[in-house]
C-alpha cells in the first residue's frame, strides 16, 4: 500500500476543493480499500466523505425515494419508508454481498464504481433514477457509461440518488457463490405507462433489455415473455458463468421478477 493523505472534510464544498485527478472519495471503502491495499490503485489524497452529514439519509415524497450517497446498504434494507414505497429496493439492498459489506458499503460508492455485477445500477435504470451530484442532475441511463465507468467528471461528487416510485417492482439475483455479487440481476419495474427490465451482471455495463421491457409494457404477465429468447452474444463469459448460462438466467430471472411483483 502506498501512503496517501487522509482527509475527512465536514461539507461538500471542502470535499470538492480537495478533489483532484489523483484523489478518491472514500465512502464504505469496500472497493477502494482492497484496491489500494493490493496495489491496484494508488492516490495522493483520500477524501473520506462519511463525516458529511448531508450525504446520508433517506427521504420519501409522493413520487420518489431519495437516498443520500453515504447511506449504507443495511440502512436501506432496514428502512421502513423504503420498504413501504419500493420494497424491491429494500430487498435488493438486503441481498448485497454479506453482512459486513452491507454495513459498510454505500449506494454512492456502488453506483460511482459501476461494477458490471453490482446490484444498485439495475435499480437506478429500472426506476428512472436521477443522480444528484454537487454539480448537476444526471439521468441514470446517461450515468452508467461502461465497465467501471460513469458520467462523473473528475472530482464530481454524488450527493444522492432519487428513485421514481413504481406501481410494482421486484429484483431477482443469481449471486456469484464466492463474492455474492450478481452473476445476473434483473430489476423489473412497472410504472404507470411502461415497464423497465434492467439487467446487471450480464454485460460490461448495466442495460435495459428493450425487448423484454416492450413485451411487458403491453402485457404485464409472465406469459408475455414466456419463450422470449435472450441472446447470449455480447454477454460476459468467465470462469463463473458462460454467456449461454447468463442468457438463460436473464430470461429466467426476468420471469421470476415479474412473478415477484
Amino acid at each position: 500500500m502506498k501512503s496517501f493523505n487522509y482527509h475527512a472534510p465536514k461539507d461538500v464544498k471542502d470535499a470538492s476543493k480537495l478533489a483532484s485527478s489523483n484523489s478518491a472519495f472514500l465512502a464504505g471503502g469496500m472497493t477502494t480499500i482492497p484496491s489500494v491495499k493490493l496495489g491496484l490503485a494508488s492516490y495522493k489524497d483520500i477524501i473520506d466523505i462519511k463525516n458529511i452529514k448531508k450525504l446520508s439519509g433517506i427521504k420519501v415524497s409522493g413520487k420518489s425515494v431519495t437516498i443520500g450517497a453515504t447511506t449504507k446498504h443495511a440502512e436501506v434494507a432496514a428502512s421502513k419508508d423504503v420498504k413501504k414505497a419500493i420494497p424491491a429496493l429494500a430487498k435488493l439492498a438486503g441481498n448485497i454481498g454479506d453482512a459486513q459489506v452491507r454495513n459498510r458499503g454505500t449506494i454512492g460508492g456502488s453506483i460511482s464504481n459501476n461494477d458490471p455485477s453490482a446490484c444498485y445500477p439495475s435499480a437506478c435504470m429500472a426506476l428512472n433514477a436521477v443522480i444528484h451530484t454537487n454539480k448537476r442532475k444526471i439521468d441514470a441511463e446517461k450515468f452508467f457509461v461502461g465497465m467501471f465507468e460513469t458520467a462523473l467528471k473528475s472530482g464530481e461528487l454524488v450527493e444522492a440518488v432519487e428513485f421514481q416510485i413504481p406501481e410494482k417492482a421486484d429484483y431477482q439475483k443469481h449471486p456469484n457463490p464466492a463474492s455474492r455479487y450478481a452473476i445476473i440481476g434483473v430489476f423489473v419495474a412497472k410504472h404507470k405507462k411502461d415497464v423497465n427490465v434492467a439487467v446487471t451482471g450480464a454485460k460490461s455495463c448495466v442495460y435495459i433489455d428493450k425487448d423484454l421491457s416492450k413485451k411487458l409494457s403491453s402485457n404485464f404477465s409472465v406469459s408475455a415473455i414466456e419463450g422470449t429468447e435472450v441472446k447470449s452474444s455480447g454477454m460476459n463469459s468467465d470462469m463463473h458463468a458462460s454467456a449461454e448460462y447468463r442468457a438463460n438466467l436473464v430470461s429466467l430471472y426476468a420471469k421470476k421478477a415479474v412473478e415477484g411483483c
Binding site: M1, A178, S179
Partner: protein, 792 residues
C-alpha cells in the same frame, strides 16, 4: 467420581477464543523487529537470469535484502519430501531440490526469489518492489494429465514423473476381471483445493546474539518436527539452539505441517542480520503458496457379478504434486490413498497404480483426509454406479460386500481390527428415513425439482503412527507420540504433549482423560503444547492422530504416576504395596481403609527427608518428585468407519443444488467428548460439501491461479448446509488402551462422494465432475431433458 471420558464437557479454550484472547503468531512482537516481505515469482515457470537488489538496498528503511545466492552460499538446505516412495520397477522416486529462495528457476507463481527486511512493513513492501528480477519466461506445465507428455520442468526428472507406483497384483486383478459379469468404469477428477486456514501462515524469529539461540514462533501443526527438519535438513541451527513455538494456531488442515520457505529464510536471516524478524502472509500469499490438496485424475474399474458381488478393482491415477514434493506430498497419493481405495468391501483382487507428476503449480500435500477422501470418492462412485447399472438398491449392494468378520484383512495393506459396517449403514438408513425417499422425490418433482439420494460407506486408516509400519512404507521418521505429566508439589498438574491443537480442543479432551486417570478435577490440569522448550518431543497433529497416539501417551504417563504413587502411599500408610488400591484419586489401604489422596502423595514426593515424626515417604529405589513421561507407538493404525446419506434437490432452471438432508453415522470407537467430536464431524462434512459443490481451484494455461481470492474462490458457508443429522455406532479400537479411533478427517472423507452420488442420482445417473457448480448441473439438466424427450 463420574467418568469425564464420554461427557460433553465445555471447551476450556472457548473462553479465550470467544473473547478474542487467543495469542497467535501475528500477535507477537519483539522489540527492534524488522519486517520481511518476499519477492515472489509472477511466472509459473521462468529462468532467473539475474536479481538486482541495489535499488532496494537504497530504499528508505531497508535493512537487508537476501536472495537465493546468499542462502546457497551459507549452505542452508531446502524443503524436503518426508516419504521415499519407490516405483513399480523398483527405482527410487525423483525429487528435485527445493531451495528456500529460488536461485536459477522459478517453478510456480508465488515461489519466493528474494526477501527484503525493513524497519516497517510498508518500507519492506516498497523495497520489495524495487528488487529487479530478470526472467526468461518458459512454457509452463499446468495440467497433470498432460505433464508426462510435456517438457521436463526439473533437471533429471524425466517426463515430470516422480514415481510410477503400484500396490497390488495386476495378474490377480486381470483374472478376476475375466470372471466378471459386468465391469463398471469411472473417470474422475478429484478437484484441487486450497486449504484456507482462517489464520494465514506467519513467523516471528528472534535470534539471541548472546546465547546464539534462535526462537521461531510459527504457525505450525508440529513444532518439534519443524525444529528437527530445520536443524537436520535446513542446517539453520543445531537442535539445542533452536526453539520452535507454535502458539495458538488458527486452523491447519494439513497446510501447516510443512516447514515452509519463509520460516527457514527468516530463521537463517535473523542470525545473519542480528535483528528479530516478523513475517505474516497476506491472503493472496496463502492462496498462492500454502500447500494445496487433492488434484487427482483417476480411471477406476470394478468387476462385479450380476448379483452384485465385487470381484476385482483397479485404479489408475495421475496425482499432481505441484512444483515440488513436500513432507506428505509423496505418501498422500500412495499409501494414504491406494490401500483405502478398495473401501469397506471384501474385494478379492485389487491394485492401485499412481503416477505422481510435477507441474508448475503450488505444491500439493496433505489436506484434511489426505488420500483417503480421494480413495473413498473413487470406490464409492464405482459402487453407486454398479448399483445403478445392476438395478440394485444402493444400500443392498454395499451390505452384500461388507466384511462381517473382524479383524478384517482388507485387500491391499491394512488389517482392520474392529468395526461393524452393517450396523452403521442400518442406522444411517433409519436416521435418514431412507425408505421414505421415494415420496420426497415425488414431492420435489411436483414442485418442478429433481431430488436425489446418495450413500457412501467409508473406512479410513488414521491415527498416523505405527513407526514400524510407516517406516517400512517409506516414512523418514517414526510416528510415535510423547507425553510428560508433571504433578506439582501443590497439586496442579501440567500435561505436556507433543501433539498440537489448532482447532482440535486438546486442552479439554486431554484434560478429561488425564483427570479420569488421576482422579482429580479437570480444573487442576493444564495441557501444555506447542513449544519445543516445554515437554519432551513430539510428532505433531495430522492424520487424526492426536488422541489415538498422543492421548495414549498421556494415559500411559498417568499410569506411571499412579504406579509410583502406590509405592509412595504404601510406605506412607505402612502397608504392603499389594494392599494399596487407587480409586477416585485416593490411595486406599484395603485392610485398614486408611487413605492418602493423590495430592497428599504428590506433596510428599517432594519432601524426601526426615524431620521430627515425619519420615521420608520415598521408598528405596525410587527418586523424589512426581514426574513421568511416556512415548507411545501403537501396533496399528486406527480405522474409523461409517455410512453417510445425503439428499439434494436441484432446480433444473438454474442448476442450483441444495443439500436438503445430511445424515452421518460414524464409528470412532470410544468417544471422549461427544460435543467436540460432533464439531469435528460438522467441520469435515462442511469441507467435503465445499469440495463437492463449491471449491473450484483454477489455473489458467500459463499457470496463473485464477481463484486467488475470496471474490473468486467459493468457500462453503453456513447457509449452504442443512442441519447435519449425526449418529454413532461404537466398536472399540484394539490398538490402544482407550479403544479410541481418529475422528478429525472422517467428515471430509465420507462427504464428497455422498453428495456427488446424490447429485448424480438426481441427474438420472449422468456423470458430473466436482465441484458440481450451478452451471454444470444446469447443462446436465438440459441434456437430461433432451434425452427424456427422445425416450418419450
Amino acid at each position: 467420581m463420574a467418568s469425564l471420558v464420554g461427557s460433553r464437557v465445555e471447551r476450556k479454550e472457548d473462553t479465550r477464543f470467544l473473547q478474542g484472547k487467543g495469542r497467535y503468531t501475528a500477535d507477537i512482537n519483539i522489540a527492534n523487529q524488522t519486517y520481511a516481505v518476499f519477492v515472489r515469482s509472477p511466472h509459473a515457470r521462468a529462468k532467473i537470469k539475474s536479481v538486482d537488489t541495489s535499488k532496494a538496498l537504497k530504499s528508505s528503511g531497508v535493512v537487508a535484502v537476501l536472495t537465493g545466492k546468499e542462502i546457497a552460499e551459507d549452505k542452508i538446505g531446502g524443503l524436503i519430501a518426508g516419504w521415499a516412495i519407490r516405483s513399480e520397477d523398483g527405482s527410487e522416486m525423483k525429487v528435485p531440490a527445493n531451495p528456500p529462495l529460488a536461485k536459477d528457476v522459478a517453478n510456480f507463481v508465488g515461489e519466493p526469489i528474494a526477501v527484503v527486511f525493513a524497519e516497517t512493513l510498508d518500507e519492506a513492501k516498497e523495497g520489495a518492489e524495487k528488487v529487479k528480477v530478470d526472467y526468461k519466461v518458459l512454457k509452463a506445465v499446468v495440467d497433470p494429465a498432460d505433464a508426462m507428455k510435456s517438457d521436463a520442468i526439473h533437471d533429471g526428472v524425466d517426463k515430470n514423473l516422480c514415481y510410477d507406483w503400484l500396490l497390488g497384483d495386476r495378474k490377480a486383478v486381470d483374472e478376476a476381471f475375466a470372471k466378471a459379469d459386468k465391469i463398471i468404469k469411472v473417470d474422475l477428477i478429484n478437484n484441487r483445493l486450497v486449504p484456507n486456514a482462517m489464520e494465514p501462515r506467519a513467523c516471528v524469529v528472534d535470534y539471541n546474539t548472546a546465547s546464539e539461540e534462535i526462537t521461531l514462533y510459527t504457525t505450525s501443526q508440529n513444532p518439534h518436527l519443524s525444529r528437527l527438519v530445520m536443524s537436520a535438513f535446513g542446517g539453520v541451527a543445531p537442535e539445542n539452539k533452536l526453539r520452535v513455538v507454535a502458539p495458538d494456531v488458527g486452523g491447519g488442515f494439513g497446510s501447516k505441517i510443512n516447514v515452509y520457505n519463509e520460516e527457514i529464510v527468516c530463521s537463517w536471516a535473523s542470525k545473519k542480520i542480528e535483528r528479530p524478524i516478523k513475517w505474516v502472509a497476506e491472503r493472496t500469499e496463502s492462496f498462492l503458496t500454502d500447500t494445496h490438496g487433492r488434484d487427482h485424475v483417476t480411471h477406476a474399474e470394478l468387476a462385479v457379478t450380476k448379483d452384485g458381488k465385487f470381484l476385482g478393482f483397479k485404479n489408475e491415477t495421475i496425482a499432481n504434486l505441484g512444483a515440488y514434493a513436500r513432507v506428505f506430498g509423496t505418501v498422500t497419493p500412495t499409501y494414504l490413498f491406494g490401500p483405502c481405495a478398495t473401501g469397506v468391501y471384501v474385494i478379492p483382487a485389487a491394485y492401485s497404480n499412481v503416477k505422481a507428476v510435477y507441474t508448475n503449480t503450488a505444491p500439493v500435500d496433505a489436506y484434511r483426509g489426505a488420500g483417503r477422501p480421494e480413495a473413498t470418492y473413487t470406490i464409492e462412485r464405482l459402487v453407486e454406479k454398479a448399483a445403478m447399472e445392476l438395478g440394485m438398491d444402493k444400500t443392498e449392494i454395499r451390505m452384500k460386500n461388507f466384511p462381517t468378520q473382524f479383524p478384517f484383512k482388507q485387500t491391499l495393506v491394512h488389517t482392520v481390527d474392529s468395526g461393524d459396517y452393517v450396523a452403521g449403514l442400518e442406522k444411517a438408513k433409519q436416521m435418514a428415513d431412507y425408505a421414505g425417499f421415494e415420496a420426497r422425490r415425488k414431492q420435489s418433482e411436483a414442485n418442478g425439482k429433481l431430488r436425489g439420494i446418495g450413500v457412501s460407506s467409508y473406512f479410513e486408516a488414521c491415527g498416523i503412527a505405527p513407526s514400524a509400519a510407516v517406516m517400512s512404507l517409506g516414512c523418514g521418521v517414526g510416528l510415535w507420540e510423547s507425553a510428560e505429566v508433571r504433578f506439582n508439589p501443590t497439586g496442579q498438574i501440567s500435561v505436556f504433549t507433543g501433539a498440537h491443537s489448532h482447532g482440535q480442543s486438546h486442552d479439554t479432551t486431554f484434560a478429561q482423560i488425564a483427570a479420569d486417570e488421576l482422579g482429580v478435577p479437570m480444573e487442576n490440569i493444564d495441557v501444555v503444547h506447542g513449544d519445543t522448550d516445554k515437554g519432551t518431543f513430539g510428532m505433531g497433529t495430522y492424520g487424526s492422530r492426536s488422541l489415538t497416539v498422543g492421548g495414549i501417551a498421556i494415559v500411559n504417563a498417568c499410569k506411571k504416576i499412579v504406579e509410583k504413587g502406590k509405592r509412595v502411599a504404601a510406605k506412607m500408610l505402612e502397608v504392603n504395596l499389594d494392599e494399596i488400591e487407587f480409586k477416585n484419586g485416593e490411595f486406599v489401604a484395603i485392610k485398614s481403609n486408611k487413605k492418602k489422596t493423590i495430592g497428599e502423595v504428590a506433596f510428599a514426593c517432594y519432601l524426601p527427608g526426615q524431620r521430627d515424626e515425619m519420615k521420608s515417604p520415598i521408598p528405596e529405589g525410587d527418586e523424589p518428585g512426581l514426574i513421568e513421561s511416556s512415548f507411545f507407538d501403537p501396533t496399528n493404525f486406527s480405522f474409523p468407519a461409517g455410512s453417510h446419506i445425503c439428499e439434494v434437490e436441484i432446480d433444473p432452471d438454474t442448476g442450483n443444488v441444495k443439500v436438503e438432508k445430511y445424515t452421518a453415522v460414524d464409528d470412532f470407537g470410544r468417544i471422549v467428548n461427544p460435543m467436540i467430536v460432533e464439531g469435528q464431524v460438522h467441520g469435515g462434512i462442511a469441507q467435503g460439501i465445499g469440495q463437492a459443490l463449491h471449491e473450484n481451484t483454477q489455473y489458467d494455461e500459463t499457470g496463473q491461479l485464477m481463484t486467488a481470492s475470496y471474490m473468486d474462490y467459493t468457500m462453503p458457508r453456513a447457509d449452504n448446509f442443512p442441519e447435519f443429522n449425526l449418529g454413532f455406532t461404537c466398536t472399540h479400537a484394539t490398538s490402544n488402551p482407550l479403544g479410541v479411533k481418529g475422528c478429525g478427517e472422517a467428515g471430509a472423507i465420507a462427504s464428497p462422494p455422498t453428495v456427488m452420488n446424490a447429485v448424480i442420482d438426481a441427474l438420472g445417473g449422468q456423470e458430473i465432475s466436482m465441484p458440481a457448480t450451478a452451471e454444470k448441473v444446469w447443462k446436465a439438466c438440459k441434456t437430461m431433458k433432451k434425452s427424456n424427450a427422445k425416450a418419450a
